[in-house]
Chain length 229, copies 2
DNA sequence: CTCTGTGAACCACTTCACAGCA
DNA sequence: TGCTGTGAAGTGGTTCACAGAG
C-alpha cells in the first residue's frame, strides 16, 4: 500500500504543500472567490471585506475567512482584503499562475464542443490536442484549431507536452480502459464525462461530470419536491 | 415474486410528497443505485442484498439501506431486495416512470452536443427542441434531428410541450436573462452550464455544471495534493 | 472603531451496531 | 440463519461569536 509520509516542513512555514487537509468543497469555493474577486478587480475595487464579498455574491462571510485561513493570512484587520493581492494569492493557491495543458480523449460531439469552449483560453487552460481512434477524424482540426491525433499517440503526447489534465469523453463502454491508459501515461488529474466512476489509483484525482445523475436529480425534484397548485 | 407492498396510507401523511427532507447527496446516489440495479437486472440477477450491492459497486451497505428507507421498505429481511422490484421503485422515486421533456437553450457547440447525447433517449429524456436567436441556425436540425427554433418560441413551447427541464448553454453574459425567461415561462428545473450561479426563485430547482470550477479544482489538486518524487 | 482569524457550538451526513423479522 | 431497518455514535463541514490586530 501507499504510505502517506508527512514530511515536516522546516518549522512552521506556510503550507503550500497540501499538508492540512482542505476539503473539496473548500477548493470549489476558492474558484468562486477568484471569480468574484476578478469581477471586483475589473470594476476597479481596491479592497473588500469578507462581509462585502459575502453580501455581494451571496456567500457566507465566516466561511470565506475560514477557507482562506487554510492558506495563510491574506487580510488586514479593520480593512479587509486587497483585491489585487487576494487575486494573486488565489491564483497561486489554485495553481493558475501557469498554463495548464489539457488533452481531450474522444473527438465526438462533446469532445469537440469542449475543445472549442471559449472559457478555457482566458483561464489559462490550454487544450493541446483531441485524441480519437477513428481514421476519418485523425488529422482534422476542431473549429478553433485544436488538432485531432490518434489515440495511440497518448503516451508520447503526455510526455512531450507535459499534459496536466485528461478529459475523457468517450463512449461509456470505453471509459475504464481509456482512464487506465491515461493513468499509465502518467496523467494525474482526469475529468470524466461518462456515466459511472472508473477506478483509478490513489495518487490520481478523478472528477466525474455525470449528466445522467444530474438530470435524474432534477427529475427527482420535479417528482417529489413540489406541490402542484 | 410480486411483492405488493406499501400499503394504503395510514392516518397521517406519508412521504412521496417530499415531506421528509431528502438530501441532494441521497438523491444523487439513488441514480447510482438505479444504474447498478439495471446492470444486475441485465445480468439476470434476481435478488441482491445491500451488502452485495455495496461490495460489487464500491458503496456502503448501511447507506444504501438508509437512503432507500426514506421512501419505504423495499427489502425482505434475510433475503435482500428483489432486483426488478427495486428497479421499478427507484424509477418511480426518481420520476423516471414517464418521459421527461427537455429543451436546450443555446445551439452552440455545447448545446448541439448535448442534444445529440445518446444517453438521453434510453433514459427517458426527450430533447424536444434547441432554441437560439441566430437567424442562420433557426430552422436547422442537430445531427440526431432535434429542431432548432427561435428563442422567442420559448413560452409557447413550454406550454404546448409541457417542458420539464431547461438546459442553459448560452454565453455567460446571457445566462441570467435566459434563466429569467425560462422561469417566467414556467419551467421549474434548470441545468445551467454557464459559469456562476444565476438567481432563481425558491420554487425553481437550479443545477450548475460549472466547468471552470471543475478544472480549477483539478488544477488545485495538481498544485497542492501531491509530492513529486 | 472595523474587520480578521479562530475556538466552540451547531448541524448534516455517514457509519456502526443491533434488535427483530423472514 | 441472514438480512433489513434504525437508533446511536462518529465524522466533517458550517455558522456563531468574540478576542485582538490595525
Amino acid at each position: 500500500m501507499d504510505c502517506v509520509l508527512i514530511v515536516p516542513v522546516t518549522e512552521h512555514e506556510r503550507d503550500r504543500t497540501g499538508s492540512d487537509h482542505v476539503s473539496e468543497l473548500t477548493t470549489a469555493r476558492l474558484s468562486v472567490y477568484l471569480r468574484c474577486i476578478e469581477s471586483l478587480d475589473a470594476s476597479g475595487v481596491n479592497t473588500i471585506s469578507s462581509q462585502g464579498l459575502a453580501s455581494q455574491f451571496q456567500l457566507n462571510a465566516a466561511q470565506i475567512r475560514k477557507d482562506l485561513a487554510h492558506f495563510g493570512e491574506f487580510g488586514i484587520r479593520g480593512v479587509g482584503y486587497y483585491v489585487k493581492d487576494l487575486k494573486r494569492h488565489l491564483k497561486e493557491i489554485l495553481g493558475l499562475d501557469r498554463s495548464i495543458k489539457v488533452v481531450i480523449i474522444g473527438a465526438g460531439n462533446l469532445g469537440l464542443a469542449l475543445a472549442d469552449y471559449a472559457g478555457f483560453r482566458q483561464d489559462g487552460f490550454d487544450v493541446v490536442a483531441l485524441l480519437d481512434t477513428a481514421r476519418e477524424k485523425v488529422g482534422q482540426y476542431s473549429r478553433s484549431g485544436v488538432p485531432i491525433r490518434h489515440a495511440r499517440d497518448l503516451d508520447r503526447l503526455v510526455e512531450r507536452e507535459k499534459i496536466d489534465i485528461a478529459v475523457v469523453s468517450v463512449p461509456t463502454e470505453a471509459a475504464q480502459e481509456t482512464v487506465d491508459g491515461v493513468v499509465a501515461a502518467g496523467v494525474r488529474a482526469i475529468l470524466n464525462f461518462s456515466p459511472g466512476s472508473p477506478r483509478v489509483p490513489a495518487h490520481v484525482k478523478l472528477k466525474n461530470m455525470d449528466l445522467t445523475i444530474t438530470f435524474e436529480s432534477l427529475s427527482f425534484f420535479l417528482a417529489n419536491g413540489h406541490v402542484d397548485p
